[in-house]
C-alpha cells in the first residue's frame, strides 16, 4: 500500500487527530485537537474544519475529567469570554497530511475563533464526541464503542470527503494504534497482541442500518447490517 496521499480512505482518529499542524511557512500552529463534522443535506457526515486549542482538547479527556478540566480552564481564562470555544482551521486549507498536517497558508492570521452560532449548530459535531460512543448491536459484544471513523477521499486531495464507515468494537478509541491497517505491520509480537485484543472489532458502513444518536449518546446498529472484519 502506498503513502497516505495515494490511498483512498483514511481513519480520522489514527491519521488526523493529534498530529502536528504546520503553516505553509513551516511554523507549528498547534495540534489537531479535534475535527468538526457537518451532517449535510444528503445525510453524509463531512469534515469541515480542524479544531485547535484547549477548548477542543479538554473535552476529549472524557466526560468527567474533561469537563472538570474545561471548567478549570474557563476559570483561568475568565478575562476572555470567547476562550471557551476552539480555534478553527477550515478543512480546505489542509494541503497535505503526512506525519504532520501542512496548511496551504502561512500561520499568522490563519486561525479564527469559532463563532457561538456555529458551536450551537445542531448539525455540527466533533469527532471527539463520536469516538467512544456506546454501540448497541446484537451482533457485537456488549461494551462495544466507536473506535474510529473511516473516511473516503484522500486528506490531501480536493475531492469528496465524508465519513464512510465506523470502526466499532470493545476497547478504547486509539487502542488499535494503527494495527488494523495492513500498511503498518509493526513488530509481529505487538501486532499479534493488538489483533487478539481487538478480535471482536468490526467495520460497519454508514447507511440505512446505522443510526447515530448524539442525544442519547449511542450508535444503534440494526440487526442484519453487515459487519466486516477489520482486515481484508
Amino acid at each position: 500500500m502506498g503513502s497516505l496521499a495515494e490511498r483512498n480512505g483514511y481513519d480520522v482518529g489514527l491519521h488526523l487527530l493529534d498530529r502536528q499542524v504546520l503553516g505553509a511557512d513551516d511554523r507549528p500552529v498547534g495540534k489537531v485537537d479535534d475535527v468538526e463534522l457537518l451532517l449535510d443535506d444528503g445525510g453524509a457526515l463531512v469534515p469541515t474544519a480542524l479544531l485547535l486549542g484547549l477548548p477542543a482538547l479538554l473535552p476529549r479527556f472524557g466526560p468527567r475529567l474533561g469537563s472538570g478540566l474545561a471548567r478549570l480552564h474557563r476559570l483561568v481564562r475568565e478575562a476572555a469570554a470567547d476562550q471557551d470555544l476552539p480555534l478553527v482551521v477550515d478543512f480546505d486549507l489542509v494541503e497535505e497530511v503526512a506525519s504532520d498536517v501542512r496548511l496551504s497558508e502561512p500561520s499568522p492570521r490563519l486561525l479564527h475563533r469559532m463563532a457561538h452560532e456555529r458551536a450551537d449548530d445542531p448539525r455540527r459535531c466533533r469527532v471527539g464526541d463520536l469516538l467512544g460512543l456506546a454501540v448497541r448491536c446484537a451482533a457485537l459484544p456488549r461494551h462495544s464503542k466507536v473506535l474510529d471513523l473511516r473516511m473516503v477521499g484522500s486528506p490531501n486531495g480536493s475531492g469528496e470527503h465524508r465519513v464512510a464507515a465506523l470502526l466499532v468494537g470493545p476497547g478504547r478509541p486509539g487502542a488499535l494504534l494503527g494495527y488494523d491497517r495492513r500498511s503498518e505491520p509493526g513488530p509481529a509480537a505487538v501486532a499479534a497482541v493488538i489483533h487478539w485484543l481487538h478480535r471482536h472489532a468490526r467495520v460497519v458502513e454508514l447507511g440505512e442500518g446505522v443510526e447515530i444518536d448524539n442525544e442519547a449518546g449511542e450508535v444503534r446498529i440494526r440487526a442484519g447490517t453487515s459487519l466486516a472484519p477489520l482486515r481484508g
Binding site: 503513502s3 497516505l4 491519521h15 487527530l17 493529534d18 498530529r19 502536528q20 499542524v21 511554523r27 507549528p28 500552529v29 498547534g30 495540534k31 485537537d33 485547535l52 482538547l57 476529549r60 479527556f61 472524557g62 475529567l65 503526512a98 506525519s99 504532520d100 478509541p173 486509539g174 494504534l177 494503527g178 500498511s183 503498518e184 505491520p185 509493526g186 513488530p187 509481529a188 509480537a189 505487538v190
Partner: protein, 410 residues
C-alpha cells in the same frame, strides 16, 4: 573538524543519562558496595538506549517529528497526558538536582556552601538556555564532559587486580553482606538511569534542532553508537575505581567529593582538577538537557513552537517554560534539600514514563507513513520488543523494591 563535532549531541545526551549528578554518586556507591557485579546492567542499559535512541533519531530525521509528538499522536490525549505528567516530573526533578549538582561541583573548588551558589548557577543555566546556540551548548559541554575519562585513566593508574575486577563481573560475585533485594534495587536504578526518558526527548528534539534529514541517518547512528557506549564506559569506570579504592576498605560513598577521591589517589591534583571540571560540565550539560527537555515535551504535547532554531520571540511559550522551571528549581534547592536525594525520588515517576515513552516510539518506527523505506528492520524490532518487556518489568519492580530496601539502605 565539523564532522567530528557532529557526534557531540549523542555524547551530551549520554552524559545526562549515565553521569549526571545522581548517577555520578550512584555509580560510585554501587562500585563501593557491589564491586563490578552490576556492570552487566549498564551494558544492558547501553544496548537498550541505543536501540530506542536510534529509532527516535530516525523518526526525527526522516519525518521531523520529535518523540513527544509521537507519544501524543499514538497514545492520544489522555494516556499521552499521563506520560507528560510522569516524564515532566522525572525531568523536572532531575533538572532541580543538576542545578544543585553544578553547585556541589563548584563547592568542591570554592568551599562555598552549595546553597549559596544555587541562585548564581540557576541564573547561569537560564542565560545559557535562553541565549546560547544549540550547537554551542552541545559542543562546549559535550567536549568538557569528556574530562570524566579521567576516571578510566585513574583506574589504570590505581593498578587494580584486573583479574579480580573481571571475575567480579558475574552477578554471582555480589558481596555477601548485601541482600539480593538491594542488589535488584540498584540494578533497576542503574537500568532506569541508562534508559531515562528525557534522553530520547532531548536526542530526537536535538536532531530536529540540527535539522537532520534522511541524509543524516549516518551521522545520527554515529551519535548513538559513540555517545551511549561512551556514557556506559564512564559509568563503569567510576564504579570500578570506587570498587578498587573503597570496597576493600568498606567505605560507604555519600558525597560528590568522595566520588572524585579515587582519581585524587590515582592521578593526584591535576587529575582531580580535570575530573572536577568534568563534574561541572556533566552536571551543567545534564541541566541543559533536562531543562530543554521540559520545554520540548510540553511544547510538543500542545503543539506550539519550540526549540532554539527559531527566534526566542517566536517560541515565547517555550522560553517562558524554561524560565519557570529554572525559578522552581532554584526555589526548591534554596530550601536546602539534598540534590542527590531528589534524583533518587524521580525513579518513582520513571516507572510511569518509561513504558509510555518507548512503546509509541517502537510503534511509529514501524509506520511507513512516517518513515517510508526507513522503517524498522527485524533486528530493531526484535530488540525493541525484548527491551519493552524488560522496561515493563523494571518499571513494575521499581517502586516495590524502593519500599522494601528503603531506597537501597537495607
Amino acid at each position: 573538524m565539523k564532522r567530528y563535532f557532529a557526534v557531540l549531541l549523542g555524547i551530551l545526551t549520554a552524559i545526562g543519562g549515565f553521569v549526571d549528578i545522581g548517577d555520578l554518586v550512584t555509580n560510585a556507591q554501587v562500585g563501593a558496595r557491589f564491586g563490578t557485579s552490576l556492570a552487566w546492567v549498564v551494558l544492558m542499559g547501553v544496548i537498550g538506549i541505543c536501540v530506542f535512541a536510534e529509532m527516535s533519531g530516525r523518526v526525527a530525521a526522516v519525518s521531523g517529528r520529535a518523540t513527544f509528538d509521537l507519544v501524543r499522536e499514538r497514545l492520544g490525549p489522555r494516556i499521552g497526558f499521563l506520560n507528560l505528567v510522569g516524564s515532566m516530573l522525572v525531568t523536572l526533578l532531575t533538572f532541580i538536582a543538576e542545578i544543585g549538582g553544578v553547585a556541589l561541583a563548584l563547592q568542591l573548588v570554592s568551599s562555598v556552601h552549595h546553597v549559596l551558589l544555587v541562585p548564581f548557577v540557576a541564573v547561569a543555566v537560564w542565560l545559557v538556555l535562553w541565549r546560547a546556540k544549540f550547537s554551542s551548548i552541545e559542543n562546549v559541554l559535550g567536549l568538557m564532559g569528556l574530562a570524566l575519562i579521567g576516571f578510566a585513566v585513574a583506574l589504570w593508574q590505581l593498578g587494580p587486580d584486573w583479574g579480580g575486577l573481571a571475575a567480579g563481573l558475574s552477578p554471582a560475585e555480589k558481596p555477601g553482606a548485601e541482600g539480593w533485594a538491594t542488589y535488584a534495587f540498584f540494578g533497576v536504578a542503574l537500568f532506569g538511569a541508562a534508559m531515562t526518558p528525557y534522553e530520547v526527548f532531548f536526542f530526537s528534539s536535538g536532531g530536529v534542532e540540527e535539522r537532520w534529514t534522511a541524509k543524516d541517518l549516518g551521522v545520527m547512528r554515529a551519535n548513538v553508537l559513540i555517545g551511549f557506549p561512551l556514557g556506559g564506559v564512564l559509568s563503569v569506570a567510576i564504579a570500578a575505581s570506587a570498587a578498587t579504592l573503597f570496597l576493600p576498605a568498606g567505605v560507604a560513598v555519600e558525597t560528590l567529593g568522595q566520588v572524585g577521591l579515587p582519581v585524587a589517589v590515582g592521578l593526584g591534583k591535576i587529575g582531580l582538577a580535570i575530573v572536577v571540571l568534568g563534574f561541572f560540565a556533566a552536571t551543567f550539560g545534564a541541566a541543559c538537557e533536562t531543562g530543554l527537555s521540559t520545554g520540548y515535551s510540553l511544547a510538543q504535547y500542545f503543539g506550539f513552537p519550540w526549540g532554539k532554531f527559531v527566534r526566542p520571540r517566536e517560541a515565547a511559550g517555550f522560553h517562558l517554560i524554561l524560565l519557570v522551571v529554572t525559578v522552581i528549581a532554584a526555589g526548591v534547592l534554596l530550601t536546602g534539600v539534598d540534590p542527590i536525594m531528589v534524583t533518587e525520588v524521580s525513579v518513582v515517576f520513571s516507572a510511569v514514563a518509561l513504558p509510555l515513552t518507548y512503546f509509541p516510539i517502537l510503534v511509529v518506527a514501524n509506520d511507513p507513513d512516517y518513515l517510508g523505506e526507513h522503517v524498522n528492520g527485524r533486528l530493531a524490532n526484535l530488540l525493541g520488543v525484548v527491551y519493552l518487556l524488560i522496561i515493563t518489568i523494571a518499571s513494575l519492580a521499581a517502586i516495590p523494591l524502593m519500599v522494601v530496601t528503603s531506597m537501597g539502605q537495607g
